[in-house]
Symmetry: C2
């Protein structure tokens, strides 16, 4: 199966590396909105101008979109679904229904197949929420994120005047995790679930007190959390905060029995050294499913909920039953 990478940042490079781990997958090319002659791929794969992608319409089995959810994907995924099977990792949860409708309309009109919001959250965490809710209908579930770097929160800090660089770690609060695991079904505010740790490189002449204040009072991003701000040098940022680790927990506890006498706990957790490389692994596995489903004539938009797990595996269904069931 021939995949194209559209957008060549951290996620795009992750997909490039993930394709090498899947012998049935081939990287057809990297498509960039920068000048392609100025972009060199990590593996020597060909780099093309994004605007030229239609020329390769008949050679690409699926396009993996590696742009951002804020402005890129809402326009790009419906556009590319006019000519290609597409898969994206759109992760603005509140806007998923609108994005789904736009991509579905485009893919149905063109007879192509699309998958949106694929990664780990939305993605594997969503799947675990759905499975656990179906199995334990009388229960409560919780999603915790971290410890890991939130790109959105890091970007928000960088937009404050006087900030040269910033890294924000989302940290789940251990006592809250333990209360959830114990089946206590606690009511937890945002502040009770996560801490926010910020590392900031300030300009030499910046007022650190006002930067710290601006971070801690920023609505939506930080005001509702206990937030720590630590100023560090650009050198320390490079040395200690270059990686993009992440992870988290989906936990559901619930009751069964005629008198609710039994409690059960389902827990799914991820511990990731590299958020973009793991997300890329999920994207490539689901791209395999999209290729197979498109070959069976399916069209329109799908999410991870619509994909039979068997379609993700390179093994035949017989081998899956024999070795993994």
């Amino acid at each position: 199966m021939k995949l194209a990478i559209y957008g060549y940042g951290n996620l795009g490079r992750g997909v490039e590396a993930a394709i090498l781990k899947n012998p049935d997958m081939e990287l057809f090319g990297v498509y960039t909105r920068r000048d392609p002659s100025a972009v060199r791929s990590e593996t020597g794969a060909k780099v093309y101008a994004a605007k030229d992608i239609l020329r390769f319409k008949d050679e690409i089995d699926a396009v993996v979109l590696c742009g951002g959810s804020a402005t890129d994907l809402p326009a790009l995924t419906p556009m590319l679904a006019k000519d290609f099977n597409v898969i994206d990792s759109f992760d603005t949860h509140a806007n998923i229904p609108a994005h789904f409708d736009a991509v579905d309309a485009s893919a149905k009109a063109s007879g192509k197949l699309a998958l949106i919001s694929c990664g780990w959250d939305p993605g594997m965490f969503s799947l675990n929420r759905l499975y656990a809710n179906a199995i334990l209908p009388d229960g409560t579930d919780y999603t915790f994120w971290g410890r890991g770097v939130s790109q959105g929160h890091s970007d928000a800090i960088r937009r404050i005047p006087g900030v040269l660089d910033a890294r924000q770690y989302t940290v789940p609060i251990e006592t809250a995790l333990e209360a959830v695991r114990a089946g206590k079904a606690p009511k937890l505010s945002a502040r009770e679930k996560h801490l926010r740790e910020c590392y900031v490189v300030a300009a030499p002449d910046a007022d650190k007190t006002s930067i710290e204040q601006a971070i801690k009072t920023m609505p939506n991003y930080f005001a509702d959390y206990d937030t720590t701000v630590t100023f560090i040098s650009a050198e320390e940022m490079r040395e200690k905060h270059a990686a993009l680790p992440h992870g988290g927990f989906v936990i559901r506890t619930g009751k069964t029995g005629l008198h609710d006498e039994h409690t059960h706990r389902i827990e799914y957790s991820l511990k990731l050294d590299s958020n973009p490389e793991f997300t890329a692994g999920v994207l490539v596995a689901f791209a395999r499913a999209i290729g197979r489903m498109a070959a069976r004539g399916e069209t329109g938009c799908r999410t991870v909920f619509d994909i039979a797990p068997a379609d993700l595996s390179p093994l035949s269904r017989e081998e899956q039953r024999r070795t993994m069931l």
Copy 2:
């Protein structure tokens, strides 16, 4: 959706309780091979003779088989698939391919839909093995069971002369779990992964030393494990070992990156107060999917790998995307 329970032991009673937690599900009746007049259901549901089930062919949407894997299900599931949509929890891993073929042939011939090997292992653990393998192809996975009661091992002890009752707990070895979680991908023998704790009620005149010896040297069941045997009174057995807790862990660690520079861990764990009631929760959720898929005209045999998660949820696909993705 109207479900029938076929076989009314611990699992059958679990399904009866689980149906009450799912407002879109209805218990049509309990089918037993005992004298139905001697069996009273927990909820007042009607109890019928198993041999009469064909009379209700047009009223039952799916039959949930709650018999044993050793002798019941290999015969019953293919037989009932001639007239009903069926779902079982067949759990003899080595015989799954043969069981699948027998049920598939029967259900294809009758135009019915069947699901086999549904529960938590095989079942939810299998799904997690498959997802994790697809996402992290360069990795290693491990399944640990327990701490929990193994019915098969308890039964094996009960067959030893002089044993009146027995309960066997499978216990995962914490140091092995930690080595796996640390991404060390250790090679682990059976003995290094699990301990076996046995509680035995012996007949007054029994030779305890020879019972202990018979347990510890029993091939397949105990000889390859570190096994402890504790003799207790019938009263202590009733008081402390009446419950059927279980659970376990599926952990996969794997590498990504062009130079394998990043390690990731995916962990799924269950902690269950009641093994049969949790298994029943899984069966009822998948019965919902089988009902929907049968209504779409699907026939033949399926496993959990073939079921799109969306079909498990009582919510519409729109609601799933809005609330769980």
